[in-house]
């Protein structure tokens, strides 16, 4: 880890001021920053510790929705009774992520900003070519070991998948990121790699996530997060789905449905095509399976990650059937 200076911010404004300086990085849970600093991927000159700031934590849930402070810990949110009741998918996405220790450290704001687990991104000394780390240098992943790489939202420059779980649930339920002066939907917060994979979010220098709000909905209340992986725990998703569902009064016709995918795309991936195909339809095994295949529209594989194109729709289907009471 490169030598850095340490600044403990005493207010959010001080933190933002400090973050304006080139070479500075905000330290919240530290689980991404310190990990990547050890890998040599992030080399801050100044680390601005915001973990002691007050007023940026807290979880409020009411009839309109939830507001989660950026410094609330993953574990706190996962175990919050209000979140569990109104947003089961959000709670589940958190408790299925990382480990209990990491969930006690990592904050909600930091969780959104976690970086890809692409092996090539994480080992700069061996794989200098990485457009995300060093724009214009190339991509080492293409032609390499791609089992965990994205099949959706990729570009010629980058196929690194977004590794998080929480953001997948958030994007399904139209959550909004508060950045102090402005708000952005979670869907718009994350950027596709395109020709600028180094730019992963719309966050500007000096900006800081202060809170996340999630509007209430019947679909969010009847929701789940399904995560499929090789290891039973403590692993990133091979494919995951956040799904919420609201029926019409008949209890069979879909009034509202939300579907988002994790582990398969370069950003948290809302699949509106699947939603549109099911709204107004009676839920059945057949309608769900047919609609779920739309989740892979535009998918492109790069060798070993081809299985995700087969797997992800099955995960979507199972999650829909589960919230629909059919599985």
């Amino acid at each position: 880890m490169r030598d850095f200076s340490y600044l403990r911010a005493s207010s959010a404004d001080e933190a933002r001021q400090a973050a304006l300086q080139a070479g500075s990085a905000l330290l919240a849970g530290g689980t991404t920053l310190l990990d990547l600093a050890k890998c040599g991927v992030m080399e801050p000159e100044t680390v601005v510790d915001i973990t002691h700031l007050s007023g940026l934590g807290g979880i409020e849930v009411d009839a309109n929705g939830a507001r989660i402070g950026a410094l609330a810990k993953m574990g706190e949110v996962a175990d919050n009774v209000g979140i569990r009741a109104a947003f089961p998918a959000v709670s589940e996405s958190l408790s299925l992520a990382a480990s209990a220790q990491l969930r006690n450290m990592a904050t909600i704001g930091g969780n959104l900003l976690q970086r890809t687990r692409c092996s090539y991104f994480r080992e700069p000394a061996v794989f200098p070519a990485c457009h995300k780390r060093n724009p214009g240098s190339g991509c080492s992943a293409m032609g390499g070991i791609t089992r965990n790489h994205a099949v959706l939202g990729t570009s010629d420059t980058c196929i690194a998948s977004y590794p998080g779980d929480l953001a997948v649930a958030l994007v399904a339920f139209d959550a909004v990121v508060e950045l102090g002066g402005r708000t952005v939907s979670v869907d718009d917060f994350f950027l596709l790699p395109g020709n600028t994979p180094e730019r992963e979010t719309v966050l500007e220098r000096g900006e800081m996530i202060t809170a996340i709000t999630v509007p209430s909905s019947a679909a969010a209340t009847n929701s789940t997060y399904l995560k499929v992986r090789d290891r039973q725990s403590y692993e990133f998703a091979a494919a995951s789905a956040a799904v919420g569902l609201e029926f019409e009064a008949d209890g069979r016709t879909v009034r509202d449905i939300r579907v988002a995918l994790g582990g398969v795309a370069t950003k948290p991936w809302r699949v509106r095509g699947v939603e549109q195909a099911l709204i107004g339809k009676m839920l059945s095994l057949e309608t769900v399976e047919t609609a779920s295949r739309l989740a892979m529209e535009g998918a492109v594989s790069h060798g070993a990650n081809r299985y995700k194109i087969e797997l992800a729709p099955r995960v979507v289907a199972r999650a829909i059937l589960k919230v629909g009471g059919l599985a």
Binding site: D3, A37, K38, D49, A98, S99
Partner: protein
């Protein structure tokens, strides 16, 4: 030039003063600067759980925590959980009784994690214990016995 900062840390109820570079992790501060080597380094990357200790009563990974971050917080390590008269903490005793370790290297982290797991209320069933202890890898494969030890300690708690 590297910069050092002065830290005063509250560890196991005692005050420890040290001068370290800001980049020194809590794990390295414990092991290399304070001779508290019970906390283990298994991966130094947040992937194994061997370095688990408590900060303000919550289990965290000391390898991804800066020493500077925990100034003003209460740190508890494996050296700090037995009674003052040396009597083992119930989780420690249960680990011995159930042979919940072999080489012993992951053990302090397992125990610190188990103490928190019980306190959090995540030790209600074997299945829940397995899931909530999965952040602590054990390559000797003592998992069955770890679950038995945590279950027993939770029932006594």
């Amino acid at each position: 030039m590297t910069r050092t900062i002065h830290l005063s840390l509250d560890i196991n109820g005692g005050r420890y003063d040290l001068d370290v570079e800001p980049r020194v992790t809590l794990l390295d501060a414990l092991r290399e600067h304070l001779a508290l080597t019970g906390t283990k380094k298994g991966c130094d990357q947040g992937q194994c759980g061997a370095c688990t200790c408590h900060v303000d009563g919550k289990r965290v990974l000391s390898c991804l925590t800066l020493a500077a971050q925990v100034e003003g917080r209460q740190v508890t390590t494996i050296e700090g959980i037995a009674a003052e008269n040396g009597e083992l903490h119930p989780v420690q005793a249960a680990f011995v009784e159930h042979d919940a370790f072999q080489c012993g290297y992951c053990t302090p982290g397992q125990i610190m994690s188990a103490v928190a797991c019980i306190r959090e209320g995540h030790a209600g069933s074997d299945e829940e214990i397995r899931e909530y202890m999965s952040g602590n890898l054990c390559r000797c494969g003592a998992y069955n016995n770890i679950v038995a030890a945590v279950r027993e300690a939770a029932e006594m708690a």
